[in-house]
Symmetry: C2
Subunit: 202 residues, 2 copies
């Protein structure tokens, strides 16, 4: 997220689902070896940020996602039940993904091991993802609304924040609907490009 | 601020100007030797947080403050030109403080070296504070609105954030009105109770 708490900038479009300047939140990750290999690319940097990404994904067996993250940000298309997802023919997840949406859709599977299954609630998504993960961790990939719903429903053990040194001045806030809650700081690390903050939810 | 970006919780009152749970943002500071000595109290902890507070105040010669921070949070009283300030007979600043407010008021001086001078704009406040500081730093103490106005007006060299491991779920946001801007991370430190993040404004 940005220093002012946004996970996407203002005025998202289907071409630019992260909104104005929103891509700057993710710049720290694009050059990393771990991100590039996840997306089928060679090379990349191997630094502390890279180790953290590798470590945080190593034990993940399934993911949970909101309909906006599936469909490509906020916009008129997000309510179109026939719209394709934003992730193309090779979604970079390579594991089962459970999408929370009120629209009923057929599940999809891809040759690279990614799959999308559409469910009605965060509780159902986390429950199915836990089964699918087979003892590994379940990661809530986003977006903001589903992440906050999971937190408020007591479904999260841990919150990992990656704070970019930028103010977006508007957009989609990560914790817009959060309830009062104290967290326990597990650790802080990072580089010039990003600060990683990890919390246990008690 | 809180993890969700608030510097005060919901429903502030004159008795509780930081709003619901807002005091939890400051808990990390109350036990420190530096905070206690600033408020005329003996004892206190001397840890890394304490060193940071001591260091960050050591070279400050004057401060800038919004009318809400002067009068005690948001509420009906903040527009009362005759209301007393919230800080009592011994404001803990011990240096000149310039308060941005549209209400014209007489300046006040206190035996401990604190003074309040009331001015009309952040530009005027920073300019007078710079003169009063005599070569030392000017600190923008708060609240959120004045801090963001100073940032957007290009009046800040540095932003120091102290992030408490708590979600407030509502209240006064620090960066509610910020403009898009990239900052340069200078350093991150802290303890279980708080994370200090320091940025250069370019």
């Amino acid at each position: 997220m940005s220093l002012d708490g946004y996970v996407a900038g203002p005025n998202p479009t289907l071409e630019d689902p992260l909104g104005e300047n929103g891509m700057q939140l993710h710049e720290w990750v694009f050059g990393l070896e771990s991100w590039r290999s996840q997306h089928g690319l060679e090379g990349g940097e191997r630094n502390e940020d890279d180790e953290l990404v590798t470590r945080s994904l190593a034990n993940v067996g399934a993911q949970v996602m909101g309909r906006r993250m599936f469909s490509g940000g906020s916009g008129p298309w997000e309510d179109d039940p026939n719209a394709e997802g934003w992730w193309g023919d090779e979604p970079p997840f390579r594991m089962p993904v459970f999408v929370v949406t009120h629209h009923r859709r057929e599940a999809r599977e891809y040759p690279n091991g990614s799959s999308f299954t559409f469910v009605q609630s965060v509780e159902e998504a986390v429950s199915l993802a836990r089964d699918a993960a087979g003892g590994k961790d379940v990661r809530v990939a986003g977006g903001a609304s589903v992440a906050t719903q999971c937190l408020d429903a007591g479904l999260l053990d841990r919150v990992d924040l990656h704070v970019a040194p930028v103010l977006l001045g508007g957009g989609t806030r990560l914790f817009d609907e959060a309830s009062f809650r104290r967290l326990e700081l597990l650790g802080v690390s990072g580089s010039d490009a990003v600060t990683h903050m990890s919390y246990r939810v008690s």
